[in-house]
């Protein structure tokens, strides 16, 4: 077993962990934003991510077929991201409007069940649209590595890690520095008081869904590029894992979701060194249960005001 822990392999796993962790963090932000405001788990968030991935897939495939992608790589990828984020945002907004808003004052079980229904519905919509097989993401970026001698890092990985950090910083600044961000924080703190201050609560909740969904859409394209294969069930496991990440960091806590995402990615990357690979998914679930038992408020603590 000793060779497993040589510094080279550990470094490789750090990079793998940060890559997948960045993706988890982006998805986790959607859970945390919504939970912070509505105290509700958006079960369909994994499907929003999946739809985003397919949105990017459609655009990239189109560009590859028309030959545009071969000439303008960066432009095509940017377009794929925009398309994915647009598809996810629209879907998030529609979901909020149709499946969640009518239930905002219903007993807590109702929106949760509605969300589960929406999740199954969306999975099956995609299955009927693209058939139940793997779709291969067009590879537009050449698979190249930066070699540092002891370890190497692929361009994809650099791209995903930096891209996810960029989006997170952008989100953080948005929440802290803009008027809408301030309104989001106010609604999370106390919805009724925010409404009394003249904030349009319905609009802020809708915007929250749109932002969280857009981040999930971006993560969808990253997963497509990184793992090269996507299908209609791809949202399920990352959805649960990202939720785990959100809980790890402290649900409702935006920096917490980021920390939780990277932390979970690293734990998984190191976990596969000591556990058989097919149990990889068990690590996240086990971690979730342990955190909820021993530190239910997460690493950085929750930012949820205690209202039932």
């Amino acid at each position: 077993m000793a060779h497993l822990f040589s510094p080279d392999i550990l470094l490789d796993q750090v990079i793998n962990g940060l890559t997948i962790g960045g993706i988890y963090a982006l998805i986790a932000l959607g859970y945390t934003l919504v939970y912070g405001i509505l105290f509700m788990i958006n079960f369909a968030h994994g499907e929003i991510f999946m739809f985003g991935s397919f949105g990017g897939f459609a655009v990239l495939s189109l560009f590859v077929r028309s030959g545009f992608a071969q000439r303008h790589v960066a432009l095509s990828i940017a377009a794929a991201f925009l398309a994915a984020m647009a598809v996810s945002s629209i879907l998030g907004a529609v979901l909020e409007r149709i499946a969640y808003r009518p239930l905002r004052n219903a007993p807590r079980l109702a929106p949760l069940i509605s969300a589960i229904g929406a999740s199954i519905f969306l999975q099956n919509v995609m299955m009927l649209m693209v058939k139940a097989r793997m779709q291969v993401y067009p590879d537009v970026i050449e698979e190249r590595y930066l070699d540092f001698g002891r370890f190497s890092i692929s361009y994809f990985q650099i791209f995903i890690i930096s891209g996810s950090i960029f989006l997170m910083v952008a989100l953080y600044l948005f929440i802290q520095k803009t008027r809408i961000g301030k309104a989001m924080r106010a609604v999370a703190e106390d919805r009724d008081a925010a409404a009394l201050m003249g904030i349009n609560v319905d609009r802020i909740i809708l915007i929250t869904f749109v932002i969280g969904s857009a981040l999930a859409g971006a993560a969808g394209v990253m997963v497509g590029i990184y793992y090269t294969q996507i299908n209609h069930m791809m949202g399920f496991i990352p959805g649960i894992k990202a939720f785990t990440a959100a809980v790890l960091g402290g649900i409702g806590n935006v920096p917490g979701a980021m920390v939780g995402g990277f932390f979970l990615g690293l734990v998984e990357a190191f976990g596969v060194l000591i556990m058989p690979a097919q149990y990889k998914d068990v690590i996240a679930f086990g971690l979730l249960v342990l955190v909820l038992i021993f530190r239910p408020s997460g690493i950085l603590g929750e930012v949820v005001s205690e209202r039932a």
Binding site: N105, R108, A110, L128, F236, I240, F243, V289
Partner: protein, 326 residues
């Protein structure tokens, strides 16, 4: 429009007491197998197993208000426990009737084991942790080859014996499942109308108020969780013995979702609702073979629509009806 679907509003049906209704229903159901033939008897058996699962999950979700999305895990525990003890896998052939209590105990034990840590959590955390638990069980069954034979499953599972009679044909299974349902309905109904059942309702309606009234929340949650799991244990053992072979993919998340759907459509907390829900959700797709692929699509959409327009289900429980009217 909203009330147009309610069966209890048909005047003729209201005149019979629930007990008389039950007897009529049992008589009708008992006479079905010769009338409908083997194929439909088989389908009715499938529905029956889901009725049992629905009654069990109804205790957890409907009575106690705990959203358990990993219910399939306990079903799997019951099924694998029986299959391992009564198949060539280990050369054991423990009789069904001896294994049945063991399956119940193991499923209940699994429920307690999961329940003790997670029942302290907020309701929505419970949903996702149980979801994860269901997946873990399936992953373990899939990968623990030396014990479970992995994806190749367990084959040639013994049928139950009633004296010298092997329960191995659709009509025999039908009567056995019917007996199982009657037993489950009896237990669930007694529970619902007992001190325990009232404690569950109190807890579901307002946890803090219930606690102040002296209800030990954790104890009653755990009780609901383990009792619900026990029903799944029975269902699992019956499923394994009836199929004769089981595979990890029999125990996917979709089973939990199906059961959840049927109790929501029927009416949370309502036992007649569970029966109606199972008949509609499991039976109807048999008539609609051509549209089979739209089944889950419809289920998902139905969950959303039901929550918005008719959260109490088609046959609401009288207690539930009050809660959703805010």
């Amino acid at each position: 429009m909203r009330d147009g679907f309610s069966f209890s509003r048909l005047p003729a049906l209201n005149r019979l007491s629930p007990r008389a209704w039950g007897i009529v229903l049992i008589l009708v159901l008992s006479s079905l197998p010769p009338l409908v033939g083997n194929y439909w008897t088989q389908v009715l058996g499938d529905i029956g197993i889901y009725v049992m699962l629905g009654i069990g999950l109804n205790v957890v979700v409907g009575f106690a208000g705990l959203l358990d999305l990993g219910y399939v895990a306990f079903y799997a525990i019951g099924a694998y426990a029986y299959a391992l003890a009564a198949s060539p896998q280990f050369g054991l052939h423990v009789p069904f009737w001896l294994m049945l209590p063991a399956c119940v105990a193991l499923a209940a034990g699994g429920g307690a084991l999961l329940g003790i840590p997670v029942l302290r959590m907020r309701g929505d955390y419970l949903a996702i942790v149980t979801l994860g638990f269901g997946e873990i069980i399936r992953i373990v069954l899939n990968n623990l080859d030396p014990v479970t034979n992995g994806p190749r499953g367990l084959l040639r599972i013994d049928p139950p014996m009633l004296g010298d009679l092997a329960v191995n044909s659709p009509p025999r299974w039908y009567y056995m499942i019917l007996a199982g349902i009657l037993f489950s309905v009896f237990v669930a109904d007694r529970l619902n109308n007992s001190r325990i059942g009232r404690a569950w309702v109190a807890m579901r309606e307002d946890q803090d108020a219930a606690e102040v009234m002296g209800i030990n929340i954790l104890k009653y949650k755990l009780l609901a969780f383990t009792i619900g799991a026990s029903f799944a244990g029975i269902g699992g053992a019956i499923f394994a013995a009836r199929q004769g072979s089981i595979f990890p993919e029999n125990f996917s998340l979709m089973v939990s979702i199906n059961v959840l759907c049927l109790i929501i459509i029927g009416g949370m907390g309502s036992i007649p609702g569970v029966i109606l829900g199972a008949a509609v959700l499991i039976g109807l797709p048999e008539f609609l073979r051509e549209v089979q692929q739209y089944r889950m699509l419809a289920f998902g959409g139905l969950l959303v629509v039901m929550m918005i327009f008719r959260p109490t289900g088609f046959i609401p429980s009288t207690r539930r009806k009050m809660e959703f009217r805010e």
